[in-house]
Symmetry: D2
Subunit: 287 residues, 4 copies
């Protein structure tokens, strides 16, 4: 695990000297760059960069870092953010309904430190998975949803996210659609798993749709939740082969193995600040 | 290569004794079953089977085989066909426009005997690939297509397919849409390659569509051509990973490697009589 | 889940009429074949088959089935066994050391009924995973192993397997090597997971070996345990890509996702009687 | 295609300021960095980098570039080289025996500009593929090899490589082993394809070895040729699934699809200066 690292994510129009000037900024303050990954999109004429540096001998206080960097960013007309790794653990809330596989997989990866975060809160519209929360000493809030109570229940959900100071909400096969206002309030702070290879089989019952169409491969897609359902920036996708021998239940079983891996990877990429969103697409700076 | 084998493809309502009765039919006539693959769809309550047997000591003339089998098939209310392998080579025609990769790949596999057939005819709407036809001693017919001449040119294409006694037409990145009547005339005898993971990105420029959507995986799909474009029974699909670093041209390059493998496999499966079509889906009896 | 099915696994020299005669045997007794998969190895001139049939209207008692079939099997000089599905649940014992991922994955698949068996017993040489056994109400027996006590501890292990009437032992990253006599006593009833793509990186620390060699892909292999370590019949393998960026710990993390999937699949194939062993190789009749 | 780009490949002990100082060096001379990819190996405490910059407005002559950079490299105790893209096309020689698939694939990718190089020379120990060379207007030199004439024939091969000013030799299923002195003379300038997933199945007949062992996956590996056969730095690997149904010939067919893709990718990576060799391993800076 990287301890006491700073990470800069930056997007700006492509210009001469961005790498040189920014790496010099860090070097001047005695930051040791451990990872620099950049990409120029020649069609968009945009420059994208992720820089990670050690704060071990960093010569300015962290509280002054953003202010110190702002003038340079302004000069490059950049969208940017700086995140600190290792200073404090990010907190995630996991939303579930009745399926346990994504939840269990996330918890296991967090406990083995493959994903570095805390899970103080699980929110569900059903009580079924309470025992898992209890085994892991996590608060479990049941908020059943129907057409009438949805606005009111979402208010409670938002209040819980604020109370627990949640940095990221993970929809781990949560079978409810969040309202536009909820999604806007936590823009790019909600990750969903859709059990198809988007944009194929948008909407409900994608495995049923896949079986009906007779495809030979099924998939899963993790993406940021946006107001347009299943249209958010895609983070990760994976697939597996199927054949005519597979029943709908076989598809569900095979799909579960994809869903948990695809969702967990997205959560990790997000928490390691490896995702830069540009337009409605993501740039993933892989480890 | 299997020489002098017969292959029965059969679909019927699931009943007691189909395997026993049919394998007995073959055994009685001294056919040695080298491959039997069957599948029961429990939801549709349908039975599907492919049986391949050696004709080495077969006790009845091939010309009598279909008549001999017909009563049994009728009893089971079966859709069925019997094909012979090794008796005569099937003939395929390849339709192309300007891209050579699928054509070259098919020709190479045919020459190495990975695919067992003859290619007497290549049809194109452009003259660009004439040199390849010439290097391989294949007739190359250029039939340019525009809105006005399409019906008339298709008539010529159909006449060519008949003249050359073509068993299967392969659309190897042929950039034209065949008319409904053409497709009907050669029902399930035309295989197309679509350069996306169907049903995602139906229609034109699927790589452009994929880039615009920001997917992390692209694919290719081979399918039987039907009147509904890109809706025919899917035979084979494959995918490859892409990232934000890939330009549109990179997608095209990566996609070409998929297209040629996915199309060639479909052609081979068809020619080995491994594909049974039921409804708008395929059952593929893999080797 | 199939209830009340019989499964015949059979290997014999390739002869005329095996399918016909055996399917007739089943048909005569009113068994409805739901799955028949066979394979002829033309080099070995051997015939291999798996037949699964419904016992719903089967006309002879199960207790007479083996005796009834024996003469036919003898005629074909066959190695064979008949197993019943759904009559009683098979019992497995899971051997572990300190790693939880394979154990957790197996338990989760068993609880979701993806794998159909009972787990009455977990055996470990360390106490670390006792809490998992306890959460799932499974007996947890700690038998620490060292050079001196190994024969004696193995006797206790064998006694436990007998006491619990265990049908299959699964070594879920159990870090000890079983003695030759142990393995012989449970021949082809012990499945192991090796964390490499066998036969590459046999022995200890395969991830370290992989990193040192600079391979671009790592793998995992499930196989039957035999006296020759890592030389048993291979059941299933899978791989994942790595790069120079991956530390040894990254390899371990990526490998865990392979190990659990590759081991669970092997266990499922075994319990569904889909594995026929011939020589030191397996024939897997895939679902 | 990138035109007129310079590429620096550099390895040095990890120190503060390498990125900053080097990117500043380029920036000062008005080079626009289009790609910078670096990696720190925390165990080896080594820093590795690939920087690619446009020479459009570069302020110093290319002939002075290496001299100008040398002092900085010396300060960092770096191994380094600078290559130019687009200034002149690299020249490759392809060594073949009787198999055409890797040769055809390379030629096709070069003609479609997926790989940017010239092929003035094909060397073979058999005359079989002469027609392909002739169709593509490439010199084809037949140098049959046996125990006695090997040293003398290798001298001729080396002379040919020098005469044609060859930058890279590609062993495209060339069935001969090059002598140690040959390999040393063209150190890291010879790429080989081995038809197995190294280090599994080193040596001859790897598909036979794979079939005998009963593996469920086969692979192919491209690597730099070194004196130790099949032990050179690995560049790229890929795999495909097989089953008990696959005959040895099926393995050969499936393997061919791997071999050509794995070899072509290695050649492209090399020619784009994306490969840094450290110890006996490669660091691949992916596009």
């Amino acid at each position: 695990m990287e301890l006491n690292h700073a990470i800069l994510l930056l997007a700006c129009p492509d210009t001469l000297g961005v790498v040189a000037r920014i790496s010099h900024f860090i070097f001047e303050r005695r930051g040791n760059i451990v990872n620099l990954d950049q990409h120029v999109d020649p069609e968009e004429k945009m420059f994208f960069m992720r820089v990670e540096w050690s704060l071990e001998n960093f010569s300015i206080p962290l509280s002054d870092l953003e202010e110190a960097f702002a003038p340079l960013a302004k000069e490059f007309k950049a969208d940017w953010k700086i995140e600190l790794l290792g200073v404090k653990k990010p907190k995630i809330a996991i939303f579930v309904s009745k399926y346990s596989h994504c939840l269990l997989d996330l918890l296991w990866r967090i406990e083995t430190k493959e994903i570095n975060c805390e899970v103080p809160l699980i929110i569900s519209n059903h009580p079924d998975l309470a025992h898992i929360a209890s085994q892991h000493n996590i608060a479990f809030e049941v908020l059943p949803i129907n057409k009438e109570n949805k606005p009111e229940q979402e208010k409670k959900q938002i209040a819980l996210l604020q109370e627990y100071k949640i940095d990221l909400a993970v929809l781990a096969r949560y079978m409810q659609i969040l309202s536009e206002s909820f999604v806007e309030e936590f823009k790019y702070k909600i990750i969903n798993i859709h059990h198809s290879f988007l944009p194929a089989f948008i909407g409900s019952n994608p495995y049923k749709q896949a079986k009906d169409r007779g495809v030979k491969i099924i998939g899963a897609t993790s993406h940021y939740a946006t107001a347009d359902l299943d249209e958010g920036p895609i983070i990760h996708q994976d697939i597996t082969r199927i054949s005519h021998r597979d029943s709908l239940n076989d598809l569900v079983c095979k799909g579960r193995d994809l869903e948990r891996i695809v969702l967990s990877k997205a959560v990790r990429m997000h928490l390691e600040n490896r995702i830069l969103i540009y337009g409605h697409k993501t740039i993933i700076f892989e480890a």
